[in-house]
């Protein structure tokens, strides 16, 4: 043991002082003062608190609180409102006059004021459409139409291919968003026999280049054009579809509601199409005019159009 350990603490000039308490006769405690930088830091926080109390909402008094001297000014209708500093007022100001909000609003108005043909040609407008559209699509559309508009076969239309039941022009896409769409095909289980359903399904597959039984195709064509089924009334004589009523083209080998490409062979394909003709389908897209402004819808329509499949 060194000699120092034998000395009592607190003795000598260069020794640290003790607190002066003795426990169990000779146990005592060094009194090391706080470093100066720490102490001044502490005083600084006290001063900060005093300034804060004066400027911002701070102390509860009665059933209210001190509102502080700082204020926020934002627009309310045509007049300016000044209120005590608070995050909600700050938000209004940010939404109205914040740098990014203003830039976004200006661009939105500018782009929405253009014709679709102009928008699609203009690089600046399209870069805004892509940036803004991605966010809005992610918020409102992606839940059904999936990332990139890939859709879900049987449920939600693919927006990135050439298959457009209601038309793929920007104006038509806009209309779908504003009004919503209800697609309906009746099930034919009561109106056609199983044989007829199979035949007409074979015929429809043959329109898309699948090699089906020739007799079935021939019989199916008669069912397709015949009075009982009335397929031609919606899908047209050549199966080209009618956009104004959302009847899809049956000849482009693009399938939204029946997973034809996922089937193993022609037999399975026939089965899947027959199943669909048998059951029918009803799908609804809600109207988004309730949630989105006209400007937003226009930009979003241009975005959807640019996903790859627009006409």
């Amino acid at each position: 043991m060194s000699t120092q350990d034998n000395k009592k603490p607190g003795q000598g000039e260069d020794e640290v002082k003790t607190t002066g308490h003795f426990w169990d006769r000779d146990l005592c405690e060094y009194n090391n003062p706080l470093p100066r930088w720490w102490l001044w830091g502490f005083y600084a926080t006290v001063v900060f608190a005093l300034v804060y109390w004066i400027l911002y909402p701070a102390w509860p008094i009665g059933d209210g609180f001190t509102k502080g001297l700082a204020s926020v000014t934002y627009e309310h209708g045509d007049e300016e409102v000044t209120t005590h500093w608070n995050t909600r007022a700050l938000l209004y100001r940010d939404m109205q006059t914040g740098e990014h909000a203003v830039r976004q609003r200006d661009m939105l108005e500018q782009v929405a004021g253009m014709e679709y043909a102009e928008i699609l040609q203009d690089a600046d407008a399209m870069s805004f459409v892509n940036a803004y559209g991605q966010g809005a699509f992610g918020t409102w559309c992606v839940a059904c139409h999936q990332v990139g508009g890939a859709g879900v076969i049987g449920q939600y239309p693919n927006l990135s291919n050439d298959h457009w039941k209601w038309g793929g022009k920007p104006e038509q896409i806009e209309e779908a968003m504003v009004l919503g769409r209800i697609g309906y095909m009746p099930g034919y289980r009561d109106r056609l026999s199983e044989q007829q359903i199979n035949d007409v399904s074979a015929f429809v597959l043959s329109l898309n280049g699948y090699d089906m039984d020739a007799d079935a195709v021939e019989a199916g064509e008669r069912v397709y054009s015949g009075h009982d089924a009335g397929c031609i009334q919606c899908h047209g004589a050549a199966g080209q579809g009618i956009e104004s009523i959302g009847a899809p083209n049956l000849t482009n080998d693009l399938w939204g509601l029946v997973d034809v490409h996922g089937a193993e062979d022609d037999q399975a394909r026939l089965q899947r199409v027959s199943r669909f003709v048998h059951d029918g389908a009803e799908r609804e897209m809600p109207a988004f005019s309730e949630f989105l402004s006209d400007e937003e819808i226009k930009v979003l329509a241009a975005y959807v159009h640019s996903l790859g499949g627009g006409q």
């Binding site: 308490h21 909402p57 509860p60 059933d63 209210g64 609180f65 926020v72 934002y74 309310h76 409102v81 209120t83 608070n86 995050t87 909600r88 007022a89 700050l90 938000l91 209004y92 940010d94 939404m95 914040g98 990014h100 909000a101 966010g135 918020t139 992606v142 839940a143 059904c144 999936q146 990332v147 879900v152 609804e284 809600p286």
Partner: protein, 244 residues
């Protein structure tokens, strides 16, 4: 009091320590109970119906809160993504509230009405079937488990005890009729809780299966009402800034 007497008396030291460290909490929390504007006055906020309340219990039971917050903060990016920021008033009948701060999944404070019932059902059964990049686990059993509604009255009684205005007496019922209208007041009547629950589940058939009332009915009923009670178009910009 001398330093030495505090340091040598463990009991006194504990009491004084507790007193000192509670000051911060007391100063920050207690005034909230008597400041008038803590909970904003706003039209439309009502207690949950029995079915929604069961959905809320399941939300907690399944641990949804571990990944989803229910609190849209007053920032522009959140307004753009989720809708109006959350008001204190909107969770006044939540015991406990589900504000949270951890967002592994998106905030759900305003998810009500954003997606269809069918979407919610499919998404809860198999999230990846609708959102391939999602990391949310599926909850397929919700659609299979019949909803246990045997203790709905006890649940409502417990909530009534902490301040949710579910009615037990005729007088309380009348008060609810005045405040929330008859249709809702009937839903908040503990005496006919199970009846109301079945009625709503059958009328709205949230899970698309009309044969049984499942946990899915309750869960979707709850999700679809989240954040929809206040009609913000009725209020001016700035109205709610007065409360903070």
């Amino acid at each position: 009091m001398k330093h030495e007497s505090v340091e040598t008396n463990a009991g006194l030291l504990i009491v004084l320590t507790l007193a000192v460290i509670s000051v911060g909490g007391l100063v920050e929390i207690v005034p909230l109970f008597y400041i008038d504007d803590t909970v904003e006055e706003v039209d439309g906020v009502r207690p949950y119906t029995p079915l929604e309340q069961r959905g809320r219990d399941l939300y907690i039971q399944e641990g949804c809160y571990a990944c989803h917050s229910q609190m849209v903060r007053p920032f522009r990016d959140e307004m753009l993504r989720y809708g109006n920021y959350s008001l204190a008033a909107e969770s006044q009948y939540d015991y406990p509230f589900q504000w949270g701060s951890k967002r592994t999944g998106p905030d759900l404070a305003r998810v009500g009405g954003k997606y269809s019932n069918e979407w919610q059902v499919q998404h809860l059964i198999d999230p990846q079937s609708l959102v391939p990049e999602s990391i949310m686990p599926g909850y397929p059993w919700l659609a299979e488990n019949p909803l246990d509604m045997s203790d709905i009255e006890d649940r409502m009684l417990a909530l009534r005890r902490v301040g949710v205005p579910y009615s037990l007496t005729e007088e309380e019922y009348e008060r609810n009729v005045e405040k929330y209208g008859e249709e809702h007041a009937r839903m908040f009547d503990i005496n006919r809780a199970e009846e109301s629950l079945v009625e709503q589940a059958q009328a709205e058939n949230f899970d698309g299966n009309s044969a049984t009332i499942t946990e899915m009915d309750a869960m979707v009923a709850y999700l679809q009402v989240l954040g929809t009670m206040v009609d913000f178009s009725e209020y001016d910009d700035g109205h709610f800034a007065e409360f903070r």
